[in-house]
């Protein structure tokens, strides 16, 4: 219980930096908040550090193990100060590495939106090598360079979103138990 919410972040960063992977960054947390709750006027920090009882309750309710001691949660409010819902940032392990994602849950306690924030996978070094990539580049070099750093243009790398689906289930239980 001595851990603070900050304990989540270094773990994600360490895992991301030690593996031979490449990360695709998608929208920022602020952008995801705006996209999930377009009418929100402000997002209040409501970070939670789980008690032992809460951890057990979340696991029992969702059937998914809770591996972190805390959860990054924000409350979204409209201009009249009405609660619109909760915005949560979470991490799950994808095929090998971590996926950062956000979940928006409405006051009806239903999932309104899921957004991937960062995606890391251990793709081969060839894809990141500039000389190798230069073979592709057409007349306009600006846009393709951006694309080459992503997994957007790889065919045949089918990835299951099952772990994110499980994570969303755990987040729903987390909101139910803690809010």
């Amino acid at each position: 219980m001595g851990k603070t919410r900050d304990s989540i972040i270094p773990w994600a960063l360490i895992c991301a930096s030690c593996a031979p992977c490449f990360a695709t960054e998608y929208v920022t947390i602020e952008q995801a908040q705006r996209l999930s709750f377009p009418s929100a006027q402000r997002f209040d920090n409501a970070f939670v550090v789980f008690t032992d009882d809460q951890k057990v309750a979340i696991e029992n309710s969702s059937g998914i193990p809770v591996t972190t001691r805390a959860q990054k949660i924000w409350k979204a409010f409209d201009k009249d100060n009405h609660l619109l819902g909760w915005f949560i940032v979470d991490y799950v392990v994808g095929k090998h590495l971590l996926i950062d994602y956000s979940v928006a849950i409405g006051v009806d306690k239903k999932v309104h939106d899921v957004e991937i924030l960062a995606y890391r996978e251990s793709y081969g070094g060839e894809v990141r090598s500039r000389t190798w990539l230069d073979q592709f580049v057409g007349k306009d070099k600006e846009a393709p360079i951006l694309l080459n750093h992503d997994i957007n243009n790889i065919s045949g790398a089918t990835l299951s979103s099952r772990h994110v689906t499980e994570g969303v289930k755990r987040i729903l239980a987390t909101i139910d138990v803690t809010q």
Partner: protein, 264 residues
Amino acid sequence: MLLNRKPGKASINRAKPLLGTFVHLALFSDELSEDALLDLSSACFARIAQIQKLMSFFDPHSEISLINSTVPNNPVTISPETSEVLRLANTLYIDSGGAFDPMQRDRSLYPEARIYFHGDNCLSRSLPAAIDLGGIAKGFAVDQAVKTFRATPEVSGVVNAGGDMFFFGRQPLPFVIRSPYQDTSSDLPRYLKGETVYETAVATSVFGPESAPTSITIIAKSCVVADALTKIVYGADHETAKSILNRYQAREITIGATRDVNHN
């Protein structure tokens, strides 16, 4: 999140868990702002979610579940979208001699299955077989997603639903094929250089045992066709596959069990 961004040029990357995989979306524009691209991307994802809702095999409220829960030979009225996919699925099932087969059933009892169309958006199926559009709906969802950008020619980009992708707009973009052989014991690279394309669909499916997989990539004019044709090239005899590839003006790149790369 933006790399190599120049003033006046906007680009965004978004991804969402949809269609049982991750749908990645990259958009570029010289004219539009980042916020405008984010709005367009939201409309695109909403369209994919709509298609998922109509055609999911696992959602008990989908139109596919409605058809599958209806007594055989009784007509069911469905949306134009589901009707369009089922018509193509039925045509490809017949033309490929069953290599592409959207009807789950005991084939020893029911070797042949048919979907009968009664008017535009009304159909029945001939057997107690479960229609599963898993081999084609992802590609269709990508095509529908791309249509949401058709009123905005200032945008180029790619929609990639777990390897079923479409490159749209005026900007030529490169694609890469992931080899099913990820070990380093052979000369085959783990990622194969594709081509730089625009207004083109690319879909890859991997077949066969894990010890000797075959990867089939189809390059076509629509993603629904590319998605379905991967299954036909794998399952149909060579002549049938070739004739269907020609009919849809599609090409294949196959990485076979002998780790050779064939273009047809």
